[in-house]
């Protein structure tokens, strides 16, 4: 029963922690496409530790976040980090100055074919500025407010708003009725 017992403990920890850890990894990773890999690496490490020592007296969420942090560090080489930062770094104030996009646009106003939404998400994920898929994940999947996202990502609210509305416009242009990705 040893491995079955450990699996039982592992399942309990996974159930309790995976949503918080997923949010943490999404926020901290450099590319949202790496989320699943980092999650898997983190829980595999936990499994190995669980087989060696008892973790019942520790704060398991903090412990997992510690493992995830190390995995994130290892996942990206310095060169990758520099590339990501240089490509996506944006000046919040600059955005506010150049941004003339009306911020009342609603995602439900865009007309996109039903079976195109997976492609839409792929398009969002492929953005060079990886803050965009992160913001979309936090806003549309976890339904956090702009204020909460701003706090989590340590960016200004106007920057978050800008990313959402600018990307919604892009989606309308590219996937709407006349869009180049529109699958007619």
């Amino acid at each position: 029963m040893t491995s079955q017992y450990n699996l039982y403990k592992f399942n309990g920890i996974y159930d309790k922690t995976h949503l918080d850890l997923l949010k943490y990894v999404v926020i901290k990773c450099h590319n949202i496409n790496d989320t699943n890999d980092i999650m898997q690496e983190t829980y595999l490490e936990l499994w190995n530790i669980l087989n060696k020592r008892d973790l019942s007296n520790i704060n398991i969420k903090s412990y997992l976040i510690g493992i995830a942090n190390n995995k994130i560090k290892k996942h990206y080489t310095l060169l990758q980090k520099l590339k990501t930062i240089s490509l996506s770094q944006t000046n919040d104030k600059e955005i506010e100055l150049i941004d003339t996009i009306e911020d009342k646009m609603n995602i439900n106003d865009i007309i996109i074919k039903e079976d195109n939404w997976n492609t839409v998400w792929k398009y969002i994920k492929s953005k060079k500025n990886q803050d965009i898929p992160k913001v979309f994940y936090l806003y549309y999947k976890l339904e956090l407010s702009i204020k909460e996202i701003s706090k989590e990502l340590k960016k200004s609210e106007s920057y978050i708003k800008h990313l959402i509305y600018r990307t919604l416009h892009e989606l309308q242009d590219n996937f709407g009725n006349e869009g180049k990705y529109n699958d007619k």
Binding site: M1, T2, H18, L44, W121, K141
Partner: protein, 236 residues
């Protein structure tokens, strides 16, 4: 469905904790298999080294005196009421057999008194005790785990990873996630009750029926003497 919900669904399909969990479990299983393979590889590479050592030893002994015929002493302990034979799995052909059974394990918060294991002799350092109930589905198509399959009591020492897991049930054979091949295995006898004891690395495993109760015992890092004491405290 609104666009917001459609996008949410697309995100969930892509970053999906259920798929992630499945992938983790697959990787764990692959890693466990690899570990076993590597252990076997190491064992096989160990064989020539042992052979060389044995041959050298034999030559050395032959030079001084005749070869002692009892080099391979079987792992048998015999007393009046105890006759133990430890079946070493690493030396058997089939080894460990995996079994995937769908179960639900619940914690018993207040560990109740189990008359089946009253007076059980557990090493004093295993001071951590947890009890669980194992539930299974009544049939394959059922969604609910509502059939009590067995009870499990786990005694452990968190410092040194020693533990004893005692599973028992009156109506069922307790479930385990792997079995040892019985091919070529030999019986032990304790107080006239026959049972098979298996060993794999630091693990002992045995199952037997005593007074109508099916027992399944697995130990980790427990000595042969401690195992004997434990069995004698159940099979009285």
């Amino acid at each position: 469905m609104t666009n917001k919900e459609k996008l949410k669904k697309a995100i969930e399909q892509d970053i999906n904790p259920k798929d992630c969990y499945k992938e983790i479990i697959n990787k764990i299983e692959r890693e466990e298999k690899m570990k076993k393979k590597n252990n076997n590889l190491w064992k096989w590479s160990f064989v020539p080294i042992c052979l060389v050592t044995i041959i050298s030893g034999v030559l050395l002994i032959n030079n001084s005196k005749e070869l002692n015929p009892n080099i391979n002493i079987p792992n048998i302990e015999t007393k009046d009421n105890v006759s133990l034979y430890i079946n070493d799995i690493s030396k058997m052909t089939q080894g460990v057999l995996r079994s995937d059974t769908d179960v639900k394990i619940t914690n018993i918060e207040n560990i109740s008194y189990f008359k089946e294991i009253a007076g059980i002799k557990i090493p004093s350092d295993l001071d951590n005790k947890e009890a669980h109930e194992i539930y299974v589905k009544p049939d394959k198509d059922s969604q609910e785990y509502n059939v009590l399959q067995s009870y499990v009591v786990n005694y452990s020492n968190t410092e040194n990873n020693r533990n004893i897991i005692v599973s028992f049930s009156k109506d069922n054979k307790p479930i385990r996630d792997y079995y040892f091949s019985e091919e070529g295995s030999k019986m032990s006898k304790i107080n006239n009750i026959e049972l098979k004891i298996f060993k794999y690395d630091e693990l002992y495993f045995t199952e037997f029926n005593y007074e109508g109760i099916n027992f399944d015992i697995e130990t980790s890092k427990i000595t042969e003497q401690e195992l004997t004491d434990l069995l004698l405290s159940i099979i009285k």
